[in-house]
């Protein structure tokens, strides 16, 4: 569903953990974030999707009070980012895009540093740090300097540092960037376990990550929020075509020409025909090909992906 900044979004509401009100940030001539209105419910995992340079990290920097909005504002757990930055910061746990650790400290010391900056009591902090290290599978390396850690271990510690102060809101900026698929799955599982207890704002350009984890997705492009909804809603609302993929042994030129004449988009590659059309009917197509003497190896309807949604909205690939 395409968002058009509805006016009813602009009222402070206790049900929301994060609300932005026409938030805008301009760098010179570049409008990095352009009047975004966003409401993230308490306990929701909200994914902000967009290509590099879309404005995701700028929004996060503003929510974390590291960057002042050029105009507009945001409420984080009811605290205004422009008026009350220290209270805003006290409600947040942040895992930045870069793996930002103190390399010569061990993981326990890293966690204790962040916890102490949040004014946590030493005893509570020590216990929570140990528990987090166990949860993240880092307990055995608790005394090793983190510079000796693998990329995956550092990423997990990066996330643990966002959780050490037990904040109501966790911001995960590209939490799995640069991880191998196996490590990424481990992180996803952990994030999934945090859902409901915490409000999570996740930015990613891995579509499958947003699809797997998010309750709702906001798609941002060139500083503007261009779509908002659940993954299913976005796919259903935005994709009104069907894609049917057929692998066949003996596709003849005549059959291909006939299919191209009937449907909007027909692609042929290595004996595979991909038909995309608003009126494409799976059964009709299979019956037609049978009748034409085509031997079908496999045929299926391809579900629309968020990538399709993104291309449909912006006209470009997410990773561009």
């Amino acid at each position: 569903m395409v968002i058009d900044n509805p006016i009813y979004f602009k009222k402070p509401d206790d049900n929301f953990a994060i609300q932005t009100f026409d938030i805008t940030r301009i760098f010179g001539k570049l409008v990095a974030v352009n009047g975004i209105n966003l409401n993230i419910k308490k306990g929701e995992l909200f994914a902000l999707l967009g290509p590099n340079g879309a404005g995701k990290t700028t929004i996060i920097s503003m929510l974390c009070c590291l960057l002042k909005p050029s105009s507009g504002t945001a409420l984080v757990m009811g605290h205004d980012i422009n008026k009350d930055p220290y209270r805003v910061k006290a409600t947040l746990g942040i895992s930045p895009q870069e793996t930002t650790l103190s390399d010569h400290l061990n993981p326990l010391e890293n966690l204790e540093l962040i916890g102490s900056l949040h004014n946590m009591k030493p005893k509570v902090l020590r216990e929570r740090a140990k528990k987090l290290l166990e949860t993240m599978g880092l307990a055995e390396r608790a005394k090793d300097q983190v510079r000796k850690f693998s990329g995956g271990m550092k990423r997990r510690l990066n996330i643990a540092m966002a959780l050490i102060n037990d904040p109501p809101i966790i911001i995960l900026d590209e939490p799995t960037l640069g991880l191998d698929p196996q490590s990424r799955r481990v992180v996803w599982k952990y994030i999934a376990r945090l859902k409901k207890d915490k409000t999570i704002l996740l930015t990613t350009h891995y579509l499958e990550e947003a699809d797997f984890l998010a309750d709702r997705i906001g798609i941002i492009d060139e500083g503007k929020l261009v779509a908002l909804g659940t993954s299913r809603d976005l796919k259903n609302d935005m994709i009104d075509t069907h894609t049917i993929v057929i692998k066949a042994w003996n596709l003849t030129q005549k059959t291909i020409m006939e299919m191209k004449a009937k449907y909007e988009d027909v692609q042929i590659s290595d004996g595979t025909m991909t038909i995309t059309d608003r009126l494409a009917d799976f059964r009709k197509i299979v019956d037609y090909l049978h009748a034409a003497g085509t031997i079908i190896r496999s045929a299926y309807i391809r579900e629309p992906t968020l990538d399709d949604v993104f291309i449909k909205i912006t006209g470009k690939e997410l990773r561009e």
């Binding site: 974390c64 009070c65 590291l66 960057l67 002042k68 930055p85 220290y86 209270r87 910061k89 006290a90 947040l92 942040i94 930045p96 870069e98 930002t100 650790l101 103190s102 390399d103 540093l113 962040i114 900056l117 949040h118 004014n119 540092m161 102060n165």
Partner: protein, 365 residues
């Protein structure tokens, strides 16, 4: 042509990094300007000299007013007795004092008539300031001969005072070396903050509800510990090489520590202004090297032209060198160096306030 591609890329990189370019061009420029200003042209040093006239004749008054006072490099002050002059020397207000003995006028008059005879003057100088003392004796010798109109050498009874103990060259040079060591803490003081900036770790800790002054205090205090250790090492090594601290070691330590705190403060300001380690390091050296040149750590500030002395006195290090030398070599107490000490304290407070304001801006741009 991979070489050419790399060459053009590096030229573009350098030229497009305004700070790096400014450093590359400004550093040699500033160095040459400072050295040129210090040692080039018609600039000449200025020495404060006291005179005690025990003769009180027209000739002796003429010697003071028409000979000594006419020498541009001398700033002549007259005192009624040697005790006052000695106290001024102890406090560092003058570099030396001349005692015109009774009978000076008579001796000079005889010389003018017969061209024969002898003149004697007593010069008491601060032995710790060796280079300056030699210059002054030489100047007074020439002036007196010129005044008397004689070719024979006059007798100058030099009295290098060992105010409370024997002063060595090390006593004089060590405070300057120590202050130089503390001055070059400027580049190192901000390095950790800049490293954290570059690795984005600073951003992470800025997302906690920590106030700017807490950040600065956190970074600075760790450096203060290092500074204390450095000062202890400096003093111990100085002592091993023959430096005697005639005055209070605690006062000398406090002066060194205040100089170090000022360096750390400047380092923090530089780190707040810079975006990367390279940029910060360049900016730090741009601050510290010219300050080292003009602050009297390597040679006496009196060799500098007055406007450079004024410039040097705007910064903490000339004050720190002067106060530390006074305590170490002349054994003066807090009453004699209080002006310098309060100046250092004021500088430290102001630089940290400026650092906090700049850091606050860094925290939320």
């Amino acid at each position: 042509m991979r070489f050419w591609s790399l060459f053009t890329r590096n030229i573009k990189e350098t030229c497009r990094d305004v700070m790096a370019l400014a450093f590359l061009l400004a550093f040699p420029l500033l160095f040459m300007l400072l050295f040129g200003a210090a040692f080039g042209g018609s600039n000449s040093p200025s020495y404060a000299v006291g005179v005690v006239d025990n003769d009180q004749t027209e000739v002796s008054q003429g010697f003071i007013n028409n000979a000594l006072s006419e020498v541009s490099v001398l700033q002549v002050s007259t005192y009624n007795d040697t005790d006052t002059a000695l106290e001024k020397l102890r406090l560092g207000n003058i570099s030396s004092y001349i005692v015109i003995p009774q009978g000076f006028g008579e001796q000079v008059s005889q010389l003018w008539q017969s061209k024969q005879g002898n003149i004697s003057l007593d010069i008491t100088y601060d032995e710790s300031n060796l280079a300056v003392s030699e210059q002054i004796i030489s100047i007074i010798n020439s002036v007196t001969r010129s005044f008397a109109g004689i070719e024979i050498p006059i007798t100058i009874n030099t009295n290098p005072i060992n105010i409370e103990s024997r002063i060595t060259n090390m006593d004089f040079t060590a405070p300057g070396i120590i202050i130089f060591g503390l001055l070059i803490m400027i580049p190192t003081a901000g390095r950790l903050m800049l490293h954290d900036k570059e690795t984005h770790f600073l951003h992470r800790i800025m997302t906690t509800p920590t106030h700017p002054w807490e950040f600065l205090a956190g970074y600075a205090s760790s450096m203060v510990i290092i500074a204390i250790i450095q000062i202890i090492i400096f003093i111990l090594l100085g002592w091993m090489f023959g430096m005697d601290i005639i005055g209070s070691i605690w006062l000398a330590f406090a002066i060194f520590l205040l100089a170090a705190v000022c360096s750390i403060g400047i380092g923090m300001v530089v780190a707040s202004l810079s975006k990367s380690e390279n940029q910060g390091e360049s900016l730090s050296w741009l601050f510290s090297m010219p300050l080292a040149i003009v602050s009297g750590v390597w040679f006496s500030i009196e060799f500098l032209p007055p406007y450079l002395q004024t410039f040097a006195n705007l910064f903490p290090y000339a004050h720190a060198v002067s106060a530390a030398r006074a305590v170490i070599t002349r054994g003066v107490g807090m009453e004699a160096v209080s002006g310098d000490v309060y100046f250092l304290i004021g500088w430290a407070v102001v630089v940290f306030i400026v650092g906090t304001i700049l850091f606050r801006r860094t925290m939320r741009s």
